[in-house]
């Protein structure tokens, strides 16, 4: 096509892997801002507002970090399951269950001091999320039910369960009939780090990210997880407990997504209400793939995505940009980065001029078999 043929690289592009991601990002921004320029908005000023909205002040960076936390935790969990090729798209439901599990503890023991109550809430959230995630894992093992379907369906069940609780048994009698629990007792609200707007969930995220990175790349179990990604037969041949590993990563994802739900409920809202569901569980799938399932890259991708979402709000305020623009920009970035990943495995070379007329034989499409 265009007189170019794709060839598989025999070795990774040295300079390329460093440049490709920023280049893709720049291209996406260029296209997005070009779109705005067509509507008469000055592109450079818009870019400035985008950046200052996300990083322009201490407050902006704090807000971006706060927005990063739930995306990061869900993505981390999802990536762990994708590594073993379990296609778990159920982080949204696990997030809901985590919010429910943590809230159950918060409502049951409002009198406990924070030092006892918060760990219990985290335990409750992790258990609820992990058990919810274990359902599709067990169904897959026992009945060979496709986990894509079950995790997807359990999302809706989880969200409806949350809705039922806040519209029904947990509804605050003082809420004028609106669906929400009572405000949490002070001991159930994740405290802020003194002097900042950040809460203690962020250091926890950092620790979890590092822990998971260590676990996946430096421990035997982590290696087994990676190897099991090749499939049950490979794993069984190598005498790895495949079923237990699947259960482990699903439980891990459930716990991480559950903590994301708990953090948003406790630190973000201070009560459980349906609006705690913001789609982070689905966003996580995109982030995990963008970062190619590597924990530290996930941290970066989650941070950048949060920055984009926070920064776009500034554009809406300063330049009357419609809300959909943020979505468009996200889509552009995703497409550009994925397209860019093509260049990490392939290189384009000029086709050899065979004959004056291009032969009708095998279209010079990039196929894996060629290599």
């Amino acid at each position: 096509m265009f007189g170019l043929t794709a060839h598989k690289r025999t070795e990774p592009p040295g300079w390329g892997s460093v440049c490709i991601f920023p280049a893709a990002l720049a291209l996406a921004l260029f296209l997005g801002l070009g779109l705005l320029a067509l509507t008469g908005r000055p592109p450079l000023a818009v870019l400035g507002a985008l950046l200052s909205g996300a990083f322009g002040s201490v407050r902006a960076v704090e807000e971006t970090l706060l927005k990063t936390a739930p995306i990061f935790l869900c993505s981390l969990g999802v990536a762990a399951t994708f590594r073993i090729k379990v296609w778990n798209i159920g982080a949204e439901g696990q997030y809901a269950l985590g919010a429910v599990g943590g809230t159950a503890v918060a409502l049951a023991f409002p009198g406990l001091p924070a030092s006892v109550l918060l760990p219990l809430m985290f335990l409750g959230a992790a258990l609820a999320g992990a058990l919810w995630a274990a359902i599709p894992a067990l169904l897959r093992q026992r009945l060979a039910v496709n986990e894509i379907i079950t995790t997807l369906m359990l999302n809706y069940l989880g969200i409806l369960f949350l809705d039922w609780l806040v519209y029904g048994p947990w509804k605050d009698p003082a809420s004028h009939g609106f669906p929400m629990t009572a405000l949490f007792a002070p001991g159930a609200v994740l405290p802020r780090i003194p002097g900042t707007r950040l809460h203690w969930g962020l250091p926890l995220c950092a620790a979890l990210g590092l822990g998971l990175w260590f676990f996946l790349s430096r421990t035997r179990l982590g290696f087994e997880l990676k190897a099991s990604g090749e499939g049950r037969r490979t794993a069984t041949y190598a005498r790895m407990p495949y079923d237990a590993l699947v259960l482990l990563v699903m439980g891990l994802c459930g716990a991480l997504a559950g903590w994301a739900g708990l953090i948003e409920t406790s630190a973000g809202l201070g009560r459980l209400q349906p609006t705690v569901m913001a789609g982070y569980g689905f966003t996580a799938i995109v982030v995990a793939w963008l970062a190619r399932l590597r924990p530290l890259a996930i941290a970066m991708a989650a941070f950048l995505l949060a920055a984009l979402r926070v920064g776009v709000e500034n554009l809406m305020l300063d330049f009357s940009v419609p809300a959909a623009f943020g979505r468009i920009l996200e889509g552009l970035i995703l497409l550009c980065v994925l397209a860019g990943q093509f260049f990490t495995t392939f290189t384009l070379r000029r086709s050899k001029p065979l004959a004056p007329n291009p032969a009708p034989e095998p279209a010079p499409k990039p196929t894996g078999e060629a290599a």
């Binding site: 008469g40 908005r41 000023a45 407050r59 009939g177 609106f178 809202l269 009560r271 689905f282 959909a324």
Partner: protein, 383 residues
């Protein structure tokens, strides 16, 4: 192999994007509908960049995209009504989720020096209160809630009065005596509107019953249209709605039934079926608040304006509404406009037939604001 993997990644990413879009209910359709909104924004000129020192910045936070002919559209008409005021500039952020995101956006506005901030949806109440505590010199106005602070007022309009009038129209026009009502969430604001609609219909047609379907969405044209179809299928011949999309209007027109709109005049979406709409005129209220803040006479209060102040109204009748029906409804409207509100005057019975307000009594505002039960003649559950 590698191409396969790449294709897999792409497929997964597309799936994820689709899911992300579907994930948060209202967002699904938002993108489809965004085109007209973007077009509008274009014409409006992206003026309100950093305003001059002297100009007073007034900010609005909307829960849905403005281009939807619905709730946020109506608020944005109110914002535009401020455009003529000297020394006032306005800006807005649309599609703001009612969770932790709202607090950040409100704080960003306050930090940018906006003098008056209108947060136009119930779910913004606690975030608004929180930020109001941090910015004592900014005036915060929260729509449809009940919490106030020295620098935070609450406001809403008695849209139920307009609903009552539209109920009278619907009750007069129905032949099957079944009125369908596509409703968003079982919260007091919506329940109150359904009750007022039912009472209006029963006023002119005691046999009329109102069937309710909950969509659990504020803005999702496809879901809301489907809900309307399900009501048409059980025999409803007038469709009313508490939704921000015109989906139910379209469903009614396609089936040859009648429809009653909400938020703004929805006749353009279903000219053949549109009887009237219960509409908002937020502009009169916004101008009032901004004038007071400019003059330094603003004080925190809870305002619940009615038809007498012009904040709510009904849209012009469709051509199919007979003159005598129009006259009857306009007479009732004149009473409401004169400040005589008898919508919830007793006797009011609930679904079980128990008396909620005896003859001579009127349901007090506090009970209206926390209404979680249906009046007699409404078919459906409040949860």
């Amino acid at each position: 192999m590698l191409m396969k993997r790449l294709a897999l990644v792409l497929a997964a990413a597309c799936l994820a994007l689709t899911l992300a879009a579907c994930g948060s209910g209202e967002k699904k359709a938002e993108e489809k509908k965004e085109a007209p909104a973007a077009a509008q924004a274009k014409q409006e000129a992206p003026a309100p960049a950093p305003a001059a020192e002297s100009a007073m910045q007034v900010g609005f936070i909307y829960v849905s995209p403005i281009g939807d002919a619905g709730y946020s559209f109506a608020h944005d008409l109110g914002r535009k009504a401020l455009a003529g005021m000297p020394g006032v500039t306005t800006s807005y952020v649309e599609s703001v989720p009612e969770g932790a995101d709202a607090e950040r956006i409100i704080r960003n506005m306050a930090a940018k020096g906006f003098k008056v901030i209108f947060t136009t949806s119930y779910g913004y109440m606690d975030p608004t209160l929180k930020v109001a505590g941090e910015f004592p010199d900014t005036v915060f106005m929260h729509c449809s809630g009940y919490k106030t602070a020295p620098n935070m007022g609450a406001y809403f309009g008695r849209i139920y009065q307009a609903r009552y009038l539209t109920g009278m129209v619907a009750g007069s026009m129905t032949k099957s005596n079944i009125l369908g009502y596509v409703a968003a969430f079982p919260i007091p604001e919506v329940i109150r509107g359904i009750n007022a609609f039912a009472l209006g219909a029963q006023k002119v047609n005691p046999k009329a019953e109102v069937r309710v379907v909950w969509t659990k969405t504020w803005y999702d044209p496809a879901t809301e249209k489907e809900a309307a179809k399900s009501l048409l299928d059980v025999g409803a011949d007038v469709i009313a709605q508490h939704q921000d999309s015109p989906g139910p209007q379209e469903a009614a027109q396609e089936k040859g039934a009648y429809s009653v709109g909400y938020n703004s005049d929805m006749s353009a979406f279903a000219p053949k079926s549109h009887l009237t709409s219960a509409i908002w005129n937020w502009g009169v209220y916004y101008a009032n608040v901004v004038e007071k803040v400019k003059a330094g006479t603003w004080k925190s209060s809870s305002d619940w304006w009615g038809m007498d102040k012009g904040i709510v109204d009904i849209a012009p009748f469709g051509p199919m509404v007979p003159k005598e029906v129009q006259d009857k409804v306009l007479a009732a409207k004149a009473e409401l406009a004169a400040g005589k509100d008898t919508v919830f005057a007793g006797p009011v019975l609930d679904q079980k037939g128990e008396t909620r307000a005896a003859a001579g009594q009127t349901i007090p505002d506090a009970d209206l604001l926390g209404m979680t039960w249906f009046v007699k003649g409404v078919v459906g559950a409040t949860e």
